[in-house]
């Protein structure tokens, strides 16, 4: 293929495309595991429609000599499982793309002239084995063949994957993979395709982890033992992850009747000493708004995972966006303190979710973990999260008989008791209350209580995460981003190779780090990269620093940024 002599050598982007229900996800997960086992760096991201069958969905798998963790527009090898795949990805197919497809199955009259097609009889081989449905496994085999992975590794992975099924099924799947493997080898032998990627020895000790799993694992590491939520894409995976491990880890996992119940349950759980969370998306979070305010007033912590998707309203349920930052910032009536984290990487999703529980507990405020469809859904090889240094914090106080839940303190934080632990009574009240938690109409006390609650903002200022500056301490241009775009912007910068440009990435968006103005003032030119239409983070920066960002790269089509488009836009803006 054209790639081998191009600068992309050492980095291949394989895209699989077909209708929902045709097993692309199986292909993807099998293939990424085999590739990872074979020692390759792997990255995978999907884009799909809000439907269970039909339509056109695709998965991008990047395989590379060096670690890659970002979505690229470029397609080096396209495995098209049906005819629509080609139309669906039209804009991304270039003259360098090799399209691997069983063209005979596309029907007569299919125009092969426009691009480089390589015929691969996925369907034929599958049918020979006994079921057309195996054609996806055949394609897995083909790719592994092209990569020249040891056949043993392939067959053992395939048997492992289907190990719980009948012997016949395992055998047939293995046959399918082997059949595909032969095709792959032949393609390489014939010179139609060749790949030049080196295994990376550090990959072996690493793991493939998605953002969803990272949030789930992070929650568990943060002591989360209660989750109540209502299903909503793309947040449901975290609920399912917790459910899967509930018996083993002793977690209470409940699907609530609606999001309002979910957040009120989680706040209730915290009140009783559990560490509760909810996972939701924009529409569900909107319904939790009153609950966020409740957490602020009760000073009963809560952790909310808000996985963004494009709005308004139902919007595009299976797509991505960074459009709910302002909602997260201002949700809830009245005034109180909150913390908003926005992990940029899968590893960070783990560590920040872990710490979210400690922060919530320590400051007795709602903590929102702001991810998005892109981050929760993608995965790549990362160093296994290490718990050695994770400190298990515990901020619950045993009460005395004279315990007062809302004692006025210098830093605004009152020791938090829980019912049934100590001789005191724990009274929390959504009305304005006195120190004991009883409703009050004393308006001087009201002012004291507002001040106390807001004072926590000062208390937590020491723990605001430093934004990450990369690669240069000194720069002419500064590219600002937050949340899931970390690797995309980083790779774009690497691609551009400017020596005067740095990225400033925020994984805590609120409170905004006080050094922000300093970073911006050092730059001659600032550009922001955000996945929304109005530049919400830009506005937050302006609000806190008074500084206007010079350029905006915004995207709100429902797809994540690609490395190329960020690079291209930056290239135009920075000169």
């Amino acid at each position: 293929m054209g790639r081998e002599s191009s600068t992309q050598s050492g980095d291949v982007s394989i895209v699989l495309c077909g209708p929902a229900g045709m097993g692309i996800q199986t292909v993807e997960s099998l293939l990424t595991r085999i590739l990872k086992q074979a020692g390759y760096n792997v990255f995978a991201t999907r884009e799909y429609m809000s439907r269970i069958r039909g339509g056109s969905n695709s998965t991008e798998i990047r395989v590379s000599s060096n670690r890659v963790c970002a979505f690229v527009n470029r397609i080096d090898i396209l495995v098209g499982l049906d005819k629509n795949a080609i139309r669906h990805l039209e804009k991304r197919i270039s003259s360098d793309t090799v399209i691997l497809a069983d063209i005979s199955s596309f029907g007569a009259g299919f125009d092969q002239s426009r691009w480089t097609f390589v015929n691969a009889e996925f369907t034929q081989i599958a049918s020979d084995i006994g079921n057309k449905l195996y054609s996806n496994i055949v394609s897995v085999g083909t790719i592994t063949g092209i990569f020249g992975i040891e056949e043993d590794v392939v067959t053992s992975c395939v048997s492992q994957r289907f190990g719980s099924k009948s012997e016949k099924i395992v055998r047939e799947n293995v046959e399918a993979a082997e059949g595909g493997y032969q095709i792959g080898c032949k393609l390489v032998d014939s010179g139609k395709i060749s790949i030049d990627i080196q295994p990376d020895s550090s990959v072996e000790e690493q793991m493939l982890l998605s953002g969803t799993e990272a949030v789930g694992l992070g929650a568990m590491a943060g002591g989360c033992n209660f989750i109540a939520s209502y299903p909503m894409s793309p947040s449901t995976g975290v609920l399912a992850f917790m459910a899967k491990h509930s018996a083993d880890f002793g977690l209470v996992v409940e699907q609530a009747e609606d999001e309002i119940a979910a957040i009120n349950m989680s706040i209730g759980a915290w009140y009783a000493g559990a560490r509760g969370m909810v996972t939701t998306s924009g529409g569900g979070f909107a319904l939790m708004t009153e609950g966020i305010s409740l957490s602020g007033m009760l000073e009963t912590p809560v952790v909310v995972h808000l996985a963004q998707r494009p709005g308004p309203a139902t919007g595009l349920p299976t797509r991505t966006e960074q459009g709910d930052l302002e909602l997260a910032l201002y949700a809830g009536h009245g005034e109180f303190v909150r913390i908003i984290l926005a992990p940029g990487r899968v590893e960070e999703a783990f560590y920040l979710t872990q710490s979210a529980f400690d922060l919530a507990d320590k400051y007795q405020v709602p903590v929102i973990i702001l991810t998005d469809h892109y981050l929760v859904d993608c995965y790549y090889n990362i160093s296994c999260p290490d718990l050695t240094d994770v400190k298990i914090e515990n901020h619950i106080h045993q009460t005395q008989a004279d315990y007062r839940r809302y004692e006025l303190t210098a830093n605004g934080i009152s020791p938090r008791g829980i019912p049934g632990y100590g001789s005191g009574l724990v009274c929390v009240d959504s009305d304005e209350h006195d120190q004991s938690g009883h409703i009050t109409e004393d308006l001087d006390l009201r002012v004291n209580m507002v001040d106390k609650r807001l004072r926590k903002l000062d208390a937590l200022k020491n723990e605001i995460l430093q934004p990450q500056l990369w690669p240069y301490e000194n720069y002419k241009n500064l590219v600002i981003c937050w949340g899931s775009t970390y690797h995309i912007v980083k790779e774009a910068l690497a691609q551009l190779g400017c020596d005067d440009t740095s990225m400033l990435h925020y994984s805590q968006v609120y409170p905004l780090h006080p050094d922000t103005a300093g970073y911006l003032n050092k730059a001659a030119k600032t550009v922001i990269v955000e996945g929304n239409a109005t530049g919400q983070f830009c506005k937050l920066i302006k609000l806190h620093t008074g500084l206007e960002v010079d350029g905006k790269i915004l995207k709100y089509s429902g797809l994540s940024f690609t490395v190329e488009e960020v690079a291209e836009s930056l290239d135009k803006m920075l000169d």
Binding site: M207, L208, E213, L217, M220, A221, G222, G223, N225, F226, A228, H245, A247, D248, F249, G250, L251, V252, A256, E257, D258, I260, A261, N264, M265, I267, G268, A269, Y271, A272, G273, A274, R275, G276, E290, G291, L294, L298, C384, P385, L387, V390, I392, N394, I396, P419, G420, Y421, G422, G424, L425, V426, C427, V428, D429, S430, D431, G437, H438, I439
Partner: protein, 288 residues
């Protein structure tokens, strides 16, 4: 135990003189005392409304949350620490209006808590609008031409949802209501007690007299295990029966169903994340 154990001393109570809520507060204290429940082991969860102020006047742990949202935190508190006695108590507007969805699904969930509803057939705190249980033609500043919605029948609804325990009581009769509260609190699983409560300020129709004239007790022979019979009784609204209408065949409670307590009976707050186990899980995901 003496019911004074639950007294708050000399406090200012915001209810109107003569309000049925005073009677219910007293009855609740008596029931709790009779059951020897320590204030420290009790959590009263309420929403917002006149009825919802009740924990403010009771010595207990409480969670006085949002309007309509008493049941979700109550369920969660019980799930987080099953050793606690949990009472979810609020008004008819709170439980059946704003909180209607939680009412349905909490019954389905069957946590072991007692749901006491002060049913004064009106929104008291917000000054007299119709509640879901307001009777037809009841006139208010919002329902100026009288209520024309079908009154919500909480007992029939609870029985339709196969609630574990369903009763109706009258605030004007302390003795029997204490009895009913005792039964409800000791009952394993979700129990509903809809308490008819006169609101002297905003409900001039359903007064003490009215309730007295329009209620009667289910007699000794009544069998609360027959769901259809119970439903029939509940649908009878010319005269309102008092007592325990229905007890479902025994079913596991929400907490009993939770896998979190299969191996470990300790409340959630006593648990710490097990680093080793998590590390093992990470390892197993790595090798997947």
């Amino acid at each position: 135990m003496d019911s004074q154990n639950f007294d708050m001393g000399d406090i200012d109570i915001a209810w109107c003189p003569g309000c049925g809520d005073f009677a219910i507060l007293k009855i609740l204290k008596q029931a709790l005392a009779a059951l020897e429940i320590a204030p420290q082991e009790l959590v009263v969860v309420s929403g917002i409304g006149q009825a919802a102020k009740i924990p403010q006047y009771l010595k207990c742990n409480y969670f006085n949350g949002l309007h309509g949202r008493a049941l979700p935190p109550a369920t969660a508190i019980k799930a987080a620490n099953p050793a606690l006695t949990v009472i979810a108590e609020s008004g008819d507007g709170d439980m059946y209006g704003e909180g209607g969805n939680h009412f349905i699904h909490t019954i389905r969930r069957n946590p072991d808590l007692t749901n006491i509803v002060h049913n004064n057939m009106v929104y008291g705190l917000t000054k007299g609008q119709a509640s879901p249980t307001s009777q037809r033609d009841f006139k208010t500043p919002v329902q100026v031409h009288g209520v024309c919605l079908e009154p919500f029948n909480p007992l029939a609804a609870a029985i339709a949802l196969d609630a574990s325990f369903v009763a109706r009581a009258f605030a004007g009769d302390a003795e029997q209501t204490v009895e009913i509260f005792n039964k409800a609190i000791t009952h394993k699983g979700y129990s509903l007690v809809d308490v008819l409560q006169p609101c002297v300020s905003y409900n001039k129709i359903n007064t003490y007299q009215w309730f007295k004239a329009n209620t009667y007790y289910l007699d000794e022979t009544y069998e609360p295990t027959d769901r259809t019979k119970a439903f029939e009784k509940a649908c009878q609204t010319d005269k309102l029966a008092l007592g325990v209408f229905y007890m479902s065949p025994e079913k596991a409670t929400f907490e009993e169903n939770l896998v979190a307590y299969r191996k470990d009976k300790s409340p959630l707050w006593q648990r710490q994340p097990n680093k080793e186990k998590i590390q093992n899980l990470i390892e197993s995901i790595k090798n997947m």
